[in-house]
Symmetry: C2
Subunit: 203 residues, 2 copies
């Protein structure tokens, strides 16, 4: 559809929104018109929130997670087990694991997964710094918590090879039937893996 | 889900995005992380586009559409028929009608529809200014092009009563079977209206 905007300012704002993933021109216009109905203060707060985030955000020196300071709250927390390091793709996975309430170790954020299709190689990720951490810090176990996709598996295998020579236990999160899922609808690969990696109840 | 963001700046940006219609916390986080991967210039351009729009946007003195100046491009265009005024809800409907390429008149943007449920009454809309236009300018015909919803119909009826005493032709856009739709799937109200408002092929 050939859009003719009645205002260049409006068109600029719509174009900026439509650069965001999953936002087309129609949705962008809807969002911009919504903002236009808010007060000037609210719109300024919105615009500045993203500008300030980009200008002032830090990445933790240790785990490379997004942080407000040089050391993130998780790495700075003495009550957490610093010998247990969970390797994740991004801040979203840190938040997902934190939300389980089941993990008391610390993290290492790779900043992505190895993906030759997208031109992302090992050197684009925080892999050398992970090897350094294992070498220098006292780490007992590395938990690989990456997506069960081709990119996730490739990255897990790469990390396994990189770390296997070092004195550290390497584990990966369990793949299997999701809690609440019915068995008959599970795909065969997942079901197969869940049988191979079955959990011992008794002897 | 109880989210614990690793950064206050990140949380602020996510909260701002999640105030937009149809954007939840998860989508907001995805959008913010996308912006964080862009350059500082790009993020500043994004943030300033909305701030500038809000601060500098004008509304046309005549038709009240969003504009870059006191008189919008459509109202300033002498080749258009200024005796024909199409009444629409918002700038989106102006763009929709313009995109048809079938309309050569000018517009009047109400800025919404009468909706007692949302607390929007006639005085919240550009209705008095429409009556003034019809009184002062030389307007031959008012086309009501409002949505086929309860709010649209209520507003059309209100406008009809307001304008019926004045020397102006009042029309409304045709309701009927959408082009490309199969008859058997049309709802009965639309089909009924399309029969009542049938178009004469031959006398």
């Amino acid at each position: 559809m050939n859009q003719s905007y009645p205002s260049v300012l409006l068109e600029d704002a719509v174009n900026e929104f439509s650069k965001l993933p999953g936002i087309g021109k129609k949705t962008a216009l809807r969002l911009v018109l919504h903002l236009l109905r808010q007060s000037e203060d609210q719109v300024t707060t919105f615009g500045n929130a993203v500008i300030h985030l980009k200008q002032e955000v830090h990445y933790c020196n240790t785990c490379h997670n997004i942080s407000d300071s040089e050391l993130c709250n998780i790495c700075a927390d003495d009550r957490r087990d610093h010998r247990l390091v969970c390797v994740v793709e991004n801040v979203r996975e840190v938040m997902a694991v934190e939300n389980t309430g089941q993990y008391s170790g610390i993290y290492h954020v790779l900043g992505g997964l190895i993906s030759p299709m997208d031109g992302i190689g090992p050197s684009d990720l925080e892999i050398e710094s992970l090897v350094e951490r294992v070498r220098k810090d006292e780490v007992d176990e590395i938990i690989l918590a990456l997506s069960a996709t081709m990119e996730g598996d490739t990255t897990s295998f790469y990390l396994y090879r990189k770390l296997s020579g070092l004195d550290v236990k390497i584990t990966t999160i369990a793949r299997g039937i999701a809690v609440g899922d019915e068995l008959e609808y599970a795909d065969e690969v997942t079901l197969g893996r869940s049988i191979i990696n079955r959990i011992i109840f008794k002897g």
